[in-house]
């Protein structure tokens, strides 16, 4: 039986922890709102781009395809894994990292080799010990404040590796944001670009005037598409991270208060027992004097 003092100490330590988790939850909630707004704000751009691209690519299919559109033989693939730099956010990092590991190991699509490009410290830590030799590059400290510049940087690099035929396909694995509690691990193909997924518009046969010409326009838009896709994934991942952290910290705070309740009960019981014992001693002492 722990002494009264021990129990008291534990209670105050749990209280301290609870204060921290509560504060973290609050911070995550505030960040979540901002991240969510950013993700929503980026949506029109991505949608419009997709729409334009769908129009373009469909017509392009009949002609000689642009390198970013052509399917090549499945030789080497690159996986871009989006994780967070920090932990304490439930299964957020582990889920995507595991999915990435599975993707690299199982190689369902039948590539000769799959390499990984990692964003976020946690993903690196996870994969380093498992498939460390497949990691080609790690980006850190980019998930805090997502900027389009980051997406552009990574996008350019990926497009370059793709056109140089270092890789024949590029995938991105990230946590898609559904709500503060639900995040879905998503695997998305980035390259080669497939326009089929966007729904066809009814007035599909408008023939545009192109300036300077179609090939030029396409050559400029396609890399942009990659960047935008990455940017969206980054934003979603960021929102998911905050959401996951918020719910993780919420349950941690709840567990802490449950624990405090239990400990308080234990403390009171012990106190009561001590009082009873003392009383008994006094009474039996008085009894024996008589």
């Amino acid at each position: 039986m722990p002494s009264l003092k021990d129990i008291k100490k534990r209670i105050s330590s749990v209280k301290n922890t609870q204060q921290i988790t509560k504060a973290m939850k609050m911070v995550a909630a505030a960040k979540l709102r901002r991240a969510q707004e950013a993700a929503v704000a980026a949506r029109p751009y991505a949608n419009k781009l997709q729409h334009v691209l769908a129009n373009l690519a469909r017509r392009e299919e009949q002609q000689d395809g642009h390198p970013l559109l052509t399917q090549r033989e499945k030789n080497r693939a690159l996986v871009i894994l989006l994780t967070a730099d920090r932990g304490l956010c439930g299964g957020f990092n582990a889920n995507v990292s595991k999915e990435a590991e599975r993707f690299i190991r199982n190689n369902k699509e039948g590539f000769a080799q799959v390499d990984a490009l990692i964003i976020g410290r946690k993903g690196r830590d996870f994969l380093k010990n498992r498939v460390g030799d497949r990691i080609i590059k790690v980006y850190e400290d980019v998930t805090g404040a997502v900027s389009f510049k980051t997406a552009q940087l990574i996008g350019e690099e990926v497009v370059q590796m793709y056109t140089e035929e270092t890789y024949d396909a590029v995938y991105v694995i990230y946590n898609a944001f559904q709500s503060a509690i639900v995040q879905n691990v998503t695997v998305e193909k980035v390259l080669p670009i497939t326009a089929a997924e966007s729904e066809t518009q009814s007035n599909d046969t408008v023939d545009y005037l192109y300036e300077p010409d179609r090939a030029e326009v396409l050559a400029q838009i396609l890399p942009k598409m990659v960047e935008v896709q990455l940017f969206r994934a980054l934003l979603e991942s960021n929102a998911s991270e905050q959401g996951a952290r918020m719910s993780a910290m919420d349950s941690a705070s709840r567990n802490a208060s449950e624990m405090i309740g239990k400990l308080t009960l234990q403390y009171n019981r012990a106190r009561q027992a001590a009082i009873t014992k003392e009383l008994m001693e006094i009474i039996s002492g008085a009894e024996s004097i008589k």
Partner: protein, 136 residues
């Protein structure tokens, strides 16, 4: 009243504009082009430059950075990396950026990798100052 153009301008960060305009001038990659209602569908890339549009008699100016424009059925969709309206531009900052870019260009030779980057920065700063100057 004649037909109007629906102008939608979006950047990766937000929707900048969504307005009915009468007339639009764009900095196309191969030269300026004006768009009026009833324009044939066109898709063009933009360079760093000044985009201006007219609502009634009022003229508005926006500094834009790489992007492209789709015109279809009197709906103009402008997708750009950055867009700043003339009243949003911080003139002091733009001037400072111009100075920095000029200084950097003096020390760099044309072969340097960052030469192009600085040149683009110079261009952006110049456009910004130009657009900001048109504020009424």
């Amino acid at each position: 009243m004649a037909a109007k153009l629906k102008l939608e301008m979006v950047t990766p960060y937000k929707q900048v504009l969504s307005e009915e305009v009468d007339e639009l001038t764009l900095p196309g990659l191969v030269g300026e082009l004006g768009i009026l209602p009833g324009h044939t569908p066109i898709l063009t890339t933009l360079r760093v430059g000044e985009l201006s549009y007219k609502i009634g008699q009022q003229q508005f100016h926006v500094a834009v950075n790489w992007g492209y424009v789709e015109v279809d059925d009197d709906v103009v969709t402008v997708l750009v990396d950055t867009a700043e309206r003339s009243d949003e531009i911080d003139l002091a900052r733009a001037r400072a950026a111009l100075g920095r870019a000029e200084d950097a260009l003096k020390t760099l030779s044309e072969e340097d990798k960052s030469y192009k980057v600085m040149e683009a920065a110079l261009q952006r700063a110049m456009i910004r100052i130009q657009v900001a100057g048109k504020k009424k």
